[in-house]
């Protein structure tokens, strides 16, 4: 059996365990054991990946397996990983693990909550290891749909509206995506021969330029909706704000990354000519995403909305960096995906913890929290500093690599766009520092805040896992950027300016 299948089997075994267990209090324990196993397995995978590479295995994808599934359409169950996928799998495992601990206190329909959460994660894992467009699409939708229930049932505020909006917009995006994928499929054998959904086979055969020009926007927009591409980002703030804590973490931390990953792996890699032709349009849109998202965050008063708009901005930066189409910027894009995934998950976790205690998310109703909740406050400061790109934390490495890559373009258009996008650093600093100042510093605004308790053990486990990851990447980024670069160098042999 293929090693990678464990990434799908472990979540499903965990879900089966949750279904079978009688005592409700054991549900979270089983979830924690399952997701810990998944995290350990991801590290084992990373180790084995390094081992294979150092042993001289230069195959594009490792741990591959292929099984014919639907012969009529040449659909295969094809799995494999390269440096990028391994990094994304690790990110997903860390955030899911932290998410389970952060959700420790979920009382209402606990079994259903953890099943939906883990089902979502299993869709994401499946997506990252799939090398067949059909299977990839299947896992993509599998990851999206539990969101409806997670937000609708366990969410807060206008949760029904947000859940419906999010689901319909994402499914609308996947509708557009599906047309693009079918377009790729029917142009996958330009020299004749068998049509295929096989990602690597398609990349090898190439797609006719006319088809690339037509279908590229379908695929890029399709995935871009999930990556909060302007103007299709509106589901994101509402969805994030209404989602329960762990779901916001998984959604902003992992699910939105499917968008960026898909844009690169499917749209750009399979249709390089299409990418070059359409890049200017999407560079404009992503530049707007970055700047608009940052300004949007400044205007918000609700902590979750601030973070949601900030996610629009940061994910916009991911797509922007990908569209620069050079190795450095693309490495930066993936670093940014991972960095943003970790810090936004931490942010959402902390916001959930703060809300659970203060029962408010409005920043002007809070103040002086540092005095009563030092542990949570320090973590919040660290997440904030990572978000504004402080050296020594993951955000700096990511943003720096993106901007260095983007400035490698000498033409006016790219330079202007990069200049505009760079301005988001300053805007981000404004809203992050404002939030930290208002929320954590100054006098304690409300007397009942004085009775609040700091983080509990399970909250610490979730938060510290994420914070340690942010610091490790910030202090020692080379292992990660080398892991990404190793894959990207080989991809850029066939795909670059």
């Amino acid at each position: 059996m293929n090693l990678l299948l464990f990434l799908i089997i472990i979540p499903f075994v965990t879900m089966a365990g949750i279904v079978l267990v009688k005592e409700l209090k054991h549900v979270r324990l089983i979830s924690a054991i399952g997701m810990s196993a998944q995290l350990v397995f991801s590290f084992v995978l990373l180790y084995l990946f390094y081992q294979q590479r150092s042993a001289g295995n230069a195959d594009q994808m490792l741990f591959m397996s292929t099984t014919v599934w639907y012969e009529a359409f040449n659909i295969q169950l094809k799995f494999g990983v390269d440096g990028i996928s391994v990094a994304m799998i690790l990110l997903t495992s860390i955030i899911t693990f932290a998410g389970v601990f952060v959700s420790w206190q979920v009382e209402y329909l606990r079994k259903e909550f953890f099943i939906s959460l883990i089902l979502l994660a299993s869709g994401v894992f499946g997506f990252f290891i799939s090398l067949d467009l059909f299977t990839m699409f299947l896992f993509y939708e599998l990851a999206v749909i539990p969101m409806y229930l997670l937000i609708g049932i366990w969410g807060t505020g206008p949760k029904e509206y947000s859940a419906m909006k999010l689901t319909l917009m994402l499914m609308g995006g996947s509708a557009v995506l599906m047309v693009g994928l079918l377009g790729i499929y029917f142009n996958s054998a330009p020299e004749g021969g068998k049509l295929t959904f096989d990602l690597m086979e398609i990349a090898k055969n190439g797609i006719p330029v006319s088809a690339q020009l037509f279908f590229f926007p379908f695929v890029f927009i399709g995935f871009g909706v999930l990556g909060a591409l302007f103007p299709f980002h509106t589901w994101s703030p509402d969805g994030h704000a209404s989602a329960p804590t762990a779901v916001s973490m998984l959604h902003a931390g992992v699910l939105m990354k499917l968008g960026g990953y898909g844009c690169f792996r499917v749209a750009m890699y399979l249709m390089p000519d299409g990418s070059h032709a359409w890049a200017w349009v999407f560079i404009i849109l992503t530049s707007v995403s970055v700047v608009y998202g940052a300004f949007g965050a400044i205007l918000q008063k609700d902590l979750k909305y601030i973070n949601a708009y900030s996610s629009v901005s940061h994910c916009g930066l991911v797509l922007f960096a990908l569209l620069m189409m050079n190795e450095t910027a693309t490495t930066g894009a993936f670093l940014q995906m991972i960095s943003h995934g970790l810090m936004t998950a931490l942010f959402f976790a902390l916001i959930g913890m703060i809300y659970g205690r203060t029962h408010t998310r409005m920043i002007n109703e809070m103040g002086g929290l540092m005095k009563v909740m030092p542990f949570l406050s320090v973590m919040y400061v660290m997440a904030g500093l990572a978000s504004l790109g402080l050296p020594g934390l993951s955000g700096f490495v990511a943003e720096m690599t993106v901007f260095v890559g983007a400035f490698q373009h000498a033409d006016v258009f790219h330079r202007v766009a990069t200049f505009l996008v760079t301005s988001s650093i300053v805007i981000t600093a404004v809203y992050i520092l404002r939030v930290i100042g208002t929320l954590l510093l100054g006098p304690v605004k409300n007397d009942h805040f004085l009775e609040l308790k700091d983080a509990k053990w399970f909250e610490k486990v979730g938060g510290v896992t994420l914070l340690v990851s942010i610091v490790v990447i910030g202090v020692a980024p080379l292992w990660l950027s080398n892991l990404l670069k190793e894959t990207l160098s080989s991809l850029f042999l066939t795909f670059s300016y």
């Binding site: 009529a72 599998l142 229930l149 859940a163 609308g172 599906m178 047309v179 079918l182 029917f186």
Partner: protein, 469 residues
């Protein structure tokens, strides 16, 4: 008629025996009605199993009757669906109010099924027309089965009138086709080629007649009223078996008789598909009654099915049958849950489902899975069915139609989610109390659920359908 012929026509022959059994059973006034229901279901289950015996390809009665693997499979799909409906309707029929009419119910169901089998096995237009009439007239009676209930009587009359019109239109079309080709035999028409205006008109009339049965817009106007008025078991039968038979017949006629002229019928179906998806969706959005909701949902699904027709190859046919199988099982599951609810509470409003998960988690989950299947959400079978249909249409180069269809699939997701929202998210102080289901109902739901969960992943099902094309 020898044993070989009986074997070839086993579906029809056994069904005749079942009909005779009902007639005799009804004559015996003293018969235990509950036992009668049990025996009938058991006999029909045996009949369904026998139907899966290997078929023997042959032509009977001067090619008026065709038997082959494909037709056998289509009949079997209808039989399985009918069996599930019989299982679901046992509680309703065991109710003292309807107990006396159980024999009549089975008699009518079997008669209409017989008509559908003849439609599928037809080798010429005459046989097809006879089958169609045999299928339609008992259906009208079934719609009016609760004759004391005003809406049911109304449904019967509405169906009678619209069926009569559609039948006349269809017959008119057949007569034009006969006028052009001078024959009613499928094989002779398939061998000739004619593009005269009369032929096109005849084909359009013929298509319109069948479009009535499938509820394609604009021939759908009877659907919601009849679905709402008819007893639930009959509505289920309309939505799955009757529609399935009409779709299969249309497929066989277009692919096998008019296969050399796809440009004529595909352009008609192209616009019918667009109109059906859009109108079905727009009306489904506004429904508050579950039966009417499912009527419009089934209209939309019929629009999706048309996408398979636009691929005039084997893959098109395969996807249609595959989709119909999945659609049938998903719909049967939804109706199964609804039937348990209606038997227990007599409620059929969407709002009545509010908070259902709190009291009936099992039923709610089955409904959830089935609605996701209808919406085409992975990992359930509906996703595979819809994806393959869209792939079939895209392979004919119809990307814009596929685009339109997937947008409609997203719209349809909205109203399926409304039901999910009612069950799982909406709060209700007095939700439907905990309902108990009988063994028959559980069996029916299990069959549907296993089908919906397994068929997508089990590619041999698709490959088997493809192999008999």
């Amino acid at each position: 008629m020898n044993w070989d012929t009986i074997y070839i026509m086993r579906h029809e022959v056994l069904l005749t025996l079942l009909i005779l059994h009902q007639l005799i059973g009804d004559l015996a006034e003293t018969v235990d009605r509950r036992r009668h229901v049990f025996i009938t279901v058991l006999l029909f289950a045996a009949f369904t199993v026998v139907g899966w015996l290997p078929s023997r390809p042959s032509l009977l009665f001067g090619s008026m009757y065709i038997s082959d693997d494909l037709r056998s499979l289509l009949k079997n799909i209808l039989s399985v669906s009918a069996l599930i409906i019989l299982l679901q309707s046992t509680t309703w029929l065991n109710n003292p109010l309807h107990q006396k009419k159980a024999g009549a119910f089975y008699l009518l169901i079997f008669s209409t099924l017989m008509g559908m089998f003849f439609m599928i096995s037809a080798g010429d237009f005459l046989m097809l027309y006879l089958g169609l009439e045999l299928a339609t007239i008992p259906l009208t009676l079934l719609a009016a089965f609760d004759k004391d209930f005003r809406k049911s009587a109304e449904a019967g009359v509405k169906l009678l009138m619209s069926s009569a019109v559609s039948s006349a239109v269809l017959l008119f079309g057949i007569s034009m086709i006969y006028g052009v080709y001078g024959t009613l035999h499928f094989s002779e028409i398939a061998g000739a080629y004619n593009e005269s205006p009369l032929m096109i008109l005849g084909l359009v009339f013929f298509l319109s007649g069948l479009a009535f049965k499938i509820s394609l817009v604009p021939f759908h106007l009877w659907t919601a009223d009849v679905y709402e008025g008819a007893p639930l078991a009959v509505t289920t039968y309309f939505s799955v078996v009757s529609k399935g038979a009409a779709v299969f017949t249309l497929m066989l006629v277009l692919y096998q008789v008019f296969r050399s002229q796809p440009e004529i019928w595909s352009s008609v179906l192209y616009f019918l598909a667009i109109a059906t998806m859009l109108v079905g969706n727009l009306f489904a959005l506004r429904q508050k009654n579950m039966k009417r909701f499912l009527a419009f949902s089934s209209i939309t699904q019929a629009g999706f099915m048309m996408l398979g027709f636009l691929n005039a190859g084997t893959i098109g046919m395969t996807t249609i049958v595959y989709f119909m199988l999945i659609y049938g099982l998903s719909n049967l599951a939804v109706f199964g849950v609804l039937s348990i609810i209606m038997n227990g509470t007599d409620k059929e409003g969407m709002d009545d489902l509010n908070g259902l998960y709190a009291t009936n988690p099992g039923l709610s989950l089955i409904m959830l899975v089935s609605l996701f299947s209808l919406a085409g959400i992975p990992p359930v079978a509906g996703f595979f069915g819809k994806f393959f249909l869209f792939t079939a249409a895209a392979s004919a180069g119809m990307y814009w139609l596929v685009f339109f269809a997937v947008i409609n699939a997203t719209i349809s997701l909205y109203y399926y989610l409304l039901v999910v929202k009612a069950m799982f998210i909406n709060k209700n102080e007095t939700p439907i109390a905990r309902l108990t289901s009988t063994f028959y109902e559980k069996l029916a739901l299990t069959l549907c659920l296993v089908g919906v969960l397994v068929i997508g992943f089990a590619s041999p099902v698709f490959e088997y359908i493809r192999s008999v094309m």
